[in-house]
Symmetry: C2
DNA sequence: CCTAAATTATTAACAATGTTAATATAATGA
DNA sequence: TCATTATATTAACATTGTTAATAATTTAGG
């Protein structure tokens, strides 16, 4: 990595840091180019020397959040036994992460992707995010032979869709319940899917 | 209804019509106050004589779309036997409606509600939308005694969450598959939930 | 060490957005 | 027909993302 590349990476980091701070605390609505640049200590136009447009910057933030979520989920997952309990704990933590950062959920699942190279792979990563973290758990269940492959695959899908759906409805207030009612619902749903 | 109320309703109708046409064909992104007013044949400021703000107008469009979806779903539902087949057909049509109008899905499920009176009830209506249409079907299943109440309630929830989730992932391109692959997935998921 | 060239940052400017205030037009009633 | 009221329109403002024109800074070469 040449000196210039180091500097460039650093500059990008400043803007990414600033943007993700805003997204975390105030959400997508409060984000603006001038906003980000202010917090990073630069003028708004400077941002365009390091990012094609604001969407590229936002997708960089997505990567940051994904790393953060992955760490959080893996930490929790490692506290319980591999296999079914691991998946269960991972799913719960996955949900809790988004409850903590509702703005991040919307960026992950509802923001329109742009045409920059590398956006589509990131989206695919979001889709299979939980599966990857739980890969070893699913593998263990498969190898135990207690469930046919097709059923396992179905359960993976169900988990994906249900989690996305319940979070969508709860975080965007299409669902009346408060947090504790939501959590009860989530647990019931996880019971349904992960009962084997 | 006084003469003025008739006129006012008519004017609101023009704007609602214009806005929903844009939403249907070009989606939320293309919607703007000037855009709507142009198509309605008025100046942009005139809109504010009939709506508090553009969000109120959008929520009026939501109601229009809900009526439309309800009609479509009920028509399809009536083509099959009551009970399980009715629910199945209704769920499929529900999904297809949003596939046809992806912008409407985002307004229904991801748009931030505003503080206008009447918004929260509309949101609750979205949440229980499919349940209401299928109320008689669910009732029949319950009365047949083939399933415990608790299981029925679980299945309702699962259906809600899974549909929301799979549509979210498909319509916002977090899922790679094309339309036919999506439909296969949807059917598999419905099989899972509605197998009794 | 000083100047020329290249790099990087900033200000100015544009078009588009939602919204409000000031003004013009139309409808109504005496 | 004229005064009043209701309704529509234009002007204006503050924000938004983005680009072009400048200003400041860093780098290279003598």
């Amino acid at each position: 990595m040449t000196r210039n590349e180091i500097q460039e990476k650093r500059m990008r980091g400043y803007f990414i840091q600033a943007a993700s701070e805003i997204l975390r605390s105030e959400g997508m609505r409060a984000l603006s180019v001038r906003n980000i640049a202010d917090r990073a200590g630069y003028s708004y136009a400077t941002l365009y020397n390091y990012f094609k447009d604001v969407r590229e910057l936002i997708f960089e933030c997505v990567k940051v959040f994904m790393d953060e979520a992955r760490t959080m989920i893996e930490t929790e997952r490692s506290k319980v036994a591999p296999g079914l309990p691991g998946i269960r704990r991972a799913a719960e933590t996955y949900a809790m992460f988004f409850v903590q950062y509702p703005g991040v959920f919307n960026i992950f699942f509802t923001e329109k992707p742009n045409e920059i190279a590398g956006a589509q792979p990131t989206l695919a990563l979001i889709y299979s995010f939980l599966d990857e973290i739980c890969a070893s758990d699913w593998k263990q269940i498969e190898e135990s032979g207690s469930l046919p492959k097709a059923v396992i695959s179905s359960k993976k899908d169900s988990l994906r869709f249900s989690l996305a759906g319940i979070l969508l409805l709860y975080l965007n207030r299409r669902m009346a319940p408060d947090y504790s009612a939501f959590k009860k619902m989530l647990n019931k749903e996880l019971d349904n899917i992960l009962s084997m």
